[in-house]
Subunit: 338 residues, 2 copies
């Protein structure tokens, strides 16, 4: 089989490794004892344990080429992974990058992707340790990142989803609903912003950037539970509530004021929906004892005792708003749309 | 969109996580400080550094459903990753598993896959730390594993590709050509073995199993360079030769006797070709100082000084057989068929 000029297939594996993976840059950290080019990487671990997570983006499911550039995809896949580390109170120490692609994919697209991944990782001080390259059937492009990390300075244990206690405050590290609103705009054919809120929404959907320091900061401040908002506030808060066996009561006013900031990128009703259910926000959601919420976090609710521990019970752990228990299946992103 | 009964799409994300990822089993290692179900895993690291590698299998490229069961795929993807760790002198300490699949994929297939991954990992004493689930366009099924590890007992430093010295012996941990011969048989429509050599070849192609202890054993014995044979002997030996700036001279008699063991699964000429170029063998290839080759390894060549360090020169580093320099592009597997 032959492939067109400038495609991965024409360059061959060695050419792709040389031209595309080189764009990831050489790891500069002294903790990378063995970097790309051997069978595995070897990374120094300073604190006795390593955090590990993985996230994948698939063309046609997680992005559309009409809406997102290779740079957008590269930045987003790095943020997705590093936000997972941050939500444990961790910081990144290394990435592995896998590209699985149709050999007809333009080399230029792949090079832009890996340059963006290398750039985003580098800005966060995280070296790329290595990767893998596989060919895929026609049309398929998939990028998968594994992030390794350690607990941040002064963080003595990971912050889990379980751990919230009755009386804690629920807070978020930044504005919610941006990515969801950006996605709504793209679905409406708005590819270029006509207002500042549209610009913010489109940018955060295409290439979300989270302040990763917020994770270790929350851990040091005494966060009792934490995760990052990847599948929507209600769905992710419900996970935290069920893991902690508590009831989370959202504050209508706080959420409404977040929604207001999104107007006119969306009308208020849609903006509220996106604050509640927009996925891929990658801001951190955490519970704190009263008086412990760090500056810059927004309190959006509180924790109460679940009346029963049966996760399916009407009165059991879950997320509540204005006296109603919210159904996570009605507000969030399900990868298999069940 | 609706999906058929028994598909991933019908089960929905929570159902898939419950029914498919549960088959991976709970990690039983005391070193798993945080296991599946949180934003990241947390794994204890006892020796100050972690090995990390990743490998992906894609339906239609790395396997065909007509030839390989879900169990085959699960075993193979685990071996691929753990052999990479072994080839550094390491042992596995944890796996992350990503499944990226068409929502129309039968749950039963996915469950068989993850059960096989959990089983293969468990037999090697390696816990599954977590994973990721993503949907993909119609027809796509891809499984990606990241393996973490540490240097084995008594191994003080990783064995790299660079490090072979003139005068070393080149040895392999097991029989080569089995997987390649199995692939030839499948291409010829032979799905069931008619002789013991065919059974060995088909089995090793579908579900290769490598003695992972051979890696740390080689490291302790003083191996100067090592990798696993994933893309074919000539291609992988060439990588070792170039990284070490040496010339590897293969021993015709040793290779011919390996080929003979494959007859009648292949005729002798095809068997020689598969010994030289068959990929996915996952046996370990290493150089040792004379007198240091461990029992059970087969010496298949020796190392000589490269006459020049220019990698492109006729007399530079590379692989030689019977006075001829072998072209790695002519003997091995290129993921992008360039």
């Amino acid at each position: 089989m032959t492939y067109g000029p400038g495609s991965l297939g024409q360059a061959g594996e060695a050419g792709v490794l040389r031209e595309v993976f080189a764009a990831l840059g050489d790891p500069v950290s002294p903790d990378v004892l063995v970097g790309p080019g051997d069978d595995t990487a070897l990374l120094r671990v300073r604190r006795g344990a390593v955090l590990a997570t993985t996230d994948t983006m698939v063309r046609g499911r997680d992005w559309l080429d009409e809406w997102s550039s290779a740079t957008d995809v590269g930045i987003k896949v790095v943020t997705q992974n590093l936000a997972d580390l941050a939500s444990m109170g961790g910081v990144g120490t290394g990435l592995l990058v896998s590209l699985v692609a149709d050999p007809g994919l333009p080399l230029a697209w792949a090079r832009e992707l890996t340059a963006a991944i290398g750039g985003a990782a580098g800005r966060s001080g995280v070296p790329v340790l290595g990767g893998d390259l596989s060919s895929a059937p026609s049309g398929v492009v998939m990028v998968s990142v594994t992030a390794l990390g350690e607990l941040g300075d002064g963080v003595t244990r990971p912050v889990l989803r379980a751990g919230a206690r009755a009386g804690d405050l629920l807070a978020v590290s930044g504005q919610l609903g941006r990515s969801g609103t950006g996605w709504l705009l793209l679905r409406q054919g708005v590819l270029s912003a006509r207002s500042d809120p549209e610009a913010v929404a489109l940018e955060h959907h295409r290439r979300p950037v989270t302040d990763l320091q917020r994770g270790p900061e929350a851990a040091r401040a005494g966060a009792t539970a934490m995760l990052d908002v990847s599948d929507g506030l209600v769905r992710d808060a419900d996970r935290l509530a069920r893991a902690s066996l508590v009831r989370l009561e959202l504050d209508d006013d706080a959420l409404r004021s977040m929604a207001t900031a999104l107007v006119p990128a969306a009308d208020l009703a849609d903006a509220v929906t996106q604050v509640l259910s927009g996925g891929e926000e990658h801001e951190l959601l955490a519970t704190f004892p009263p008086g412990c919420v760090p500056d810059g976090w927004t309190v959006i609710g509180r924790t109460a005792d679940a009346d029963a521990v049966d996760a399916d019970a009407r009165q059991g752990p879950g997320v509540w708003l204005d006296g109603d228990k919210l159904d996570p299946a009605q507000g969030g992103w399900d990868h298999f749309g069940g």
